[in-house]
């Protein structure tokens, strides 16, 4: 247990040390947001109505981009070998890594959702629901991304393959997250959508560490 928190602390420290990479993620997010009005037209009504979906789309793309640092770096420098030969249970290590990564992405989004909402003219009353959808949805994205990343860790870096593998899994998360915000925007309760999002998280979170551990073990040769 103590080592779990020690690991969590180390993983977060690693993320903080790689500040320039993290900044690149924030920048990517904001660029995608800024490009939206140019693609869709500057009409405030359209942007405001689409804002939660656009923000979630940018968040999803940013998550996809960030998956590279989940296992690929460790595989490349040999740390993954240490993970696989240590007597500590691998799912525990995986959980620490994934939680640290989720904290990173969630922090980035919590920060960036304010300027994004501003720029797209999103109703400020939707911010709590948006945040809640991030809290439930981002770990889903990271857990699922971890599974796809672990499956492909032995391959050459191929972001296109990772995206292809993840899209069928990301679509339900996106649907429920954005529908929650849309429901709130229509003055109805977002509860059912958020609960469904929570259900996905409840399914993915306990199983992902074991699936990822199995995938990492079988990926080595």
């Amino acid at each position: 247990m103590k080592s779990f928190f020690a690991l969590l602390h180390h993983e977060i420290k690693l993320h903080l040390r790689q500040a320039s990479d993290s900044a690149a993620l924030l920048l990517f997010f904001i660029i995608v947001i800024v490009l939206m009005p140019f693609a869709l037209g500057p009409e405030p009504e359209i942007l405001r109505r689409l804002a939660p979906g656009l923000i979630w789309l940018a968040a999803l793309l940013m998550s996809l981009l960030s998956l590279d640092r989940l296992f690929v770096q460790d595989a490349r420098d040999g740390t993954l070998d240490i993970w696989l030969t240590t007597p500590t249970p691998l799912p525990l290590l995986v959980l620490a890594k994934i939680l640290a990564h989720s904290v990173l992405i969630l922090s980035a989004l919590t920060l960036m959702m304010f300027p994004a909402a501003l720029v797209l003219g999103m109703d400020a009353a939707l911010l709590p629901v948006l945040l809640l959808s991030f809290v439930l949805g981002v770990p889903c994205l990271v857990f699922l991304g971890g599974m796809a990343g672990a499956i492909t860790v032995a391959l050459q870096r191929n972001p296109a393959l990772l995206t292809l593998l993840l899209i069928p899994f990301y679509i339900p998360v996106l649907i429920f997250a954005v529908s929650a915000c849309d429901a709130a925007a229509a003055q109805t309760s977002p509860a059912s959508n958020l609960l469904l999002l929570g259900a996905i998280l409840a399914l993915v979170a306990p199983s992902a560490p074991f699936v990822i551990a199995a995938a990492l073990r079988s990926g080595q040769g």
Binding site: M147, T152, L161, I167, I200
Partner: protein, 242 residues
């Protein structure tokens, strides 16, 4: 002797396949022949859509078999991971392109059906969208397997992908249905499903049988080919090493 272990021996499987293939192949030709006759000539046209409904007999069975095949692959993947059945992975590799093509046929014929019926080549209808996502699942698996040089590692990675994909399918169906009803576009596709007239149901089932037999034939063929390729590779290795 356990049914599955009995056919775990690749050589025995190949012999079995040699016997089965002609039978299954002929069955497929007959079923498709009868099915097409029924579909194109003997069945009645739809009161709303007229003759264009006949494309349904090509479109719907493709969806059924494509869907069933993915589940079969997922089950095989599970057996391969847990029981280490020798042929499970060969089956998955053999079946994947077949399933992808079937789902592709479903999408294309769906599109061709849609143009005269709804006036659009594509609509984001719940069912079509789910089928599109199934197509992406197939493509993902095929691309994943193709990216691995080492087929043993690839088989484990692919098996995991199939299993989580199978769990995802009901989630996708539900969420896409949910998404579609939330946004409530004008109902373009008549929600026809509850009671299909037996005159239409019979050709549909016959076609489904034909598709199933044809798919089995192709998969048996591909499996024997893959086993042969593996045998050649092993032989080459033995010679090189010795």
């Amino acid at each position: 002797m356990n049914l599955t272990t009995r056919f775990a021996n690749p050589a025995q499987f190949s012999r079995l396949a040699q016997i089965l293939m002609p039978i299954v192949g002929c069955g497929a030709v007959m079923a498709c022949g009868v099915g097409l006759y029924l579909a194109l000539f003997a069945s009645p046209p739809d009161y709303q859509q007229g003759e264009t409904v006949r494309i349904m007999y090509v479109h719907v069975p493709a969806a059924w078999i494509g869907m069933a095949l993915y589940m079969a692959m997922a089950v095989a993947a599970g057996i391969g991971l847990v029981a280490r059945h020798a042929l499970a992975d060969i089956f998955c590799r053999a079946a994947a392109p077949v399933g992808a093509v079937l789902v592709g046929i479903c999408l294309i014929t769906g599109s061709l059906w849609g143009k005269p019926t709804w006036g659009a080549w594509w609509v984001w209808d719940a069912r079509l969208t789910s089928v599109l996502i199934l197509f992406l699942l197939y493509c993902g698996y095929i691309t994943l397997r193709a990216s691995f040089d080492d087929q043993e590692r690839g088989s484990k990675a692919g098996a995991i992908l199939l299993l989580i994909g199978a769990v995802n399918i009901p989630i996708v169906k539900f969420s896409v249905e949910w998404w579609h009803t939330l946004h409530q576009p004008a109902s373009l596709l008549r929600k026809g499903g509850a009671a299909i007239h037996p005159d239409m149901l019979v050709p549909l089932l016959v076609m489904a049988l034909g598709y199933g037999l044809f798919t089995s034939f192709v998969i048996l063929l591909r499996m024997t080919t893959l086993l042969l390729a593996r045998k050649i590779e092993r032989q080459r290795e033995r010679e090189e090493y010795a």
